[in-house]
Amino acid sequence: MITRIKDLFTDFDLPRLLIVAFLSTLLVLAFFLGLPVLGLLTDMLNRLGMFGVLVLAMVPAIVAGVGLNFGLPLGILCGLIGGLVSIELDLSGGWAFAAAIAVAVPLATLVGLGYGWLLNRVKGSEMMVATYVGFAGVSLMCIGWIMLPFRSLEMVWPIGKGLRVTIALSGRYERVLNDFWDFTIGDPGSSTGALTIPTGLLLFFGAMCLLMWLFLRSRMGIQMKTVGDNPKFAVTSGMNVNRGRMIGTILSTVLAAVGILAFNQGFGFIQLYTAPMFMGFTAVAAILIGGATVKKASISNAIIGTFLFQGLLVVSLPVANQIMQGGNLAEISRIIISNGIILYALSQVGGGE
């Protein structure tokens, strides 16, 4: 156990140390600026649970050797369709959330199948192809959101054609996970705020991580890992490389679909049209911050990365607003940090001969 923890810290190379230092500085600053630190911590936990599954979706793709899955929006779109169908069926509460997942998962499996087929044909250029297939998918579904025959008045524009840009989930499955068994420590009225633990959300995220952990130790999971680690060795030992990559891609797509539903329920809204465009980048950045590389990733990378990256976003916004008037410093730092970490990871792959 102790060596495991030690490993965890030796894994922390320069960019991660910088991020940890930056985040701690921000937290200390927040405390001295009189911001509700416990409230911020609550937000951080919420965002960890909400965004965690989307970041976890990176793990199977990287482990299977497909690389950073910039095509995450494809899975996200499936999740969104599931969420919309659940509202169209007029469901609410936990059942609505379950129905959304039940619709989204088979859909994502199908899309993942096609996506995996494509990625198996473009080995070596997966990231670029995936990015643009994702972008194209999002803009194609922009047309889809206008044309699809959804009728529910909560979702369509009162006048004109098509679905709204944001659809409120209040009365449907807003915060069904967040508010499940949640409890509060401390006094919400105090200067530091109160810490609310979103038990259901964290349990859901934990369950997903556990499932992934179990899968990676199953026969299929080990095969997938071998394929990703060393395709040549996998071929000589009679494994089907394309099959392993296919499984990784499908799993990643399915997790993306589930992940966006978990995100939406916590956020309280479904965002359509161009909103999913850059979610893939955010997830990629998060797992890289957690210590993954283009070729190696673990569940702990996903958890640590989500916590650090989302934590940074949560804390930087109020602190930036306190320090500097005007400008959109929080959004700008998100752009710089997330793309900076991706560039760093790409430059570490080698090829600098």
Binding site: M128, S333, I336
Partner: protein, 433 residues
């Protein structure tokens, strides 16, 4: 009798050959053909009049070709599609912002912009080249992410630091809070139409002069090469050129004597000349020693290194040229627009230029000037007609707009995938043999 039979046989073989050639041509130019058809169908459904469409297309061609041409050299150097021309566009915009702040109008403002953007583009291009040398084989995704990253730095500089940490006094350009530039900046006091308004000719006259120049070019080429026996292909190409421009000339002469709307279209000659100069520059540089090295590096980096070429240096030079051209391209683009969207004008530059080049028939490893120009024509045809066509077909202009975004992203994805797939099949074949 015997003769007739032979003739028939030959004819059959000819037909077979022709169908084979046509088939090859269609397969090789599939993307371009599809977009040509899409463009024509879209135009028919858009209900636009031809003169209006041509005028709109010419505006976009003179505005955007420059940026697409900036992509060619990195492609030939084997670095793929340089999405980081966004950095070049930023360099251009920094210069435009400075010149607008100093209120230097007209041609001098434009020239100053171009001069100012060069050192910036040099630095940006050098850094981009350094990064792309560290990410060999993943240049495109790296240049794409770099463009996003640079956009963050750009925003940090102009939205947060300028006016605050970096002092600047300008009530027109700075936000009312005193920090950060406004979202849109009017260029009327600086470079608006600086190049376009120097000299403009009506479309028929421009077409006529273009025809005359082309005939002169062909004549001079033939005169200079009169001693050498020219290749069959070159002769055929020249004949086609002359035939095409003759038709164009006849058409212009006809239009001149009518009161057609085409007579009202004005061509900004100086901008067109600038574009032609870039074309000539690109052709010229590929014939120099540097250009040969560049192509060698593009074909095979290891062979290039083995024959004593510093591949990394050549790659950096290619990116620097591309970045400078992009900076100038963006300056020309902005003088035409007359307004600078401070935080948006550069964002889509890479995507649109790359999509145009690919639609013109280029790929990750091959690009020509002709493909760039053809691509601009086809891509912007789709851009002009799709909102109206969308409205007329589906009753919703927004659909057309989404469709053209889909087209831009889709064509990049598709052609990257097809290129990678082709490479994989090739690698598989070479393994088998």
């Amino acid at each position: 009798m015997q003769n007739q039979k032979n003739d028939k046989k030959e004819l059959d073989i000819d037909l077979l050959e022709i169908s084979e050639v046509v088939k090859k041509f269609l397969v090789a130019n599939m993307v371009t053909m599809v977009f040509a058809i899409l463009g024509i169908v879209g135009f028919m459904f858009s209900g636009l009049s031809l003169p209006f469409f041509v005028s709109e297309l010419l505006i976009r061609m003179t505005r955007n070709s420059f940026l697409v041409l900036a992509l060619i050299i990195p492609v030939l150097a084997g670095m793929g599609l340089n999405f980081a021309i966004v950095l070049g566009a930023m360099a251009g915009q920094v210069a435009v912002i400075a010149v607008t702040h100093w209120e230097i109008p007209g041609v001098w403002g434009l020239l100053l912009c171009m001069a100012l953007s060069v050192p910036l583009a040099l630095v940006f291009g050098y850094l981009t080249g350094k990064l792309l040398n560290k990410t060999k084989g993943k240049e495109m995704i790296a240049s794409l992410i770099l463009a996003f990253f640079a956009n963050g730095i750009y925003q940090l500089f102009f939205l947060v630091l300028l006016g605050g940490v970096i002092p600047m006094q300008n009530e027109v350009m700075i936000l009312s809070g005193g920090v950060g530039l406004r979202v849109s900046i009017n260029l009327a006091t600086s470079i608006k139409d600086a190049a376009d308004h120097i000299w403009r000719l009506s479309l028929p006259w421009s077409a006529l002069s273009f025809s005359a120049l082309t005939v002169m070019y062909v004549g001079i080429r033939r005169y200079l090469n009169r001693a050498k026996k020219m290749e069959e292909r070159t002769i055929r190409k020249h004949l086609v050129y002359v035939a095409l421009v003759s038709i164009l000339a006849l058409w212009s002469l006809y239009i001149m004597n009518t009161d057609s709307m085409f007579n009202n279209i004005r061509i900004p000659i100086v901008t067109v000349i600038a574009i032609i100069v870039v074309c000539i520059f690109t052709t010229f540089i590929l014939k120099t020693k540097l250009g040969q090295d560049l192509k060698t590096v593009g074909q095979d980096r290891h062979i290039a290194t083995a024959s004593g070429i510093d591949a990394n240096r050549i790659r950096i030079i290619a990116i620097i040229i591309s970045t400078i051209l992009a900076a100038w391209g963006q300056i020309f683009f902005l003088q035409k627009m007359g307004i600078l969207l401070t935080y948006g004008a550069h964002a889509q530059v890479g995507l649109f230029a790359v999509a145009a080049l690919l639609i013109g028939g280029a790929s990750v490893s091959k690009a020509t000037i002709g493909q760039a120009i053809l691509g601009v024509v086809l891509f912007h045809t789709i851009f002009i007609v799709s909102p109206l066509a969308g409205k007329n077909i589906f009753g919703d202009a927004q659909l057309g707009e989404f469709f053209r975004a889909f087209v831009a992203y889709g064509v990049v994805g598709l052609s990257l995938a097809m290129h990678a797939w082709g490479k994989q099949i090739q690698a598989g074949n070479s393994l088998k043999s």
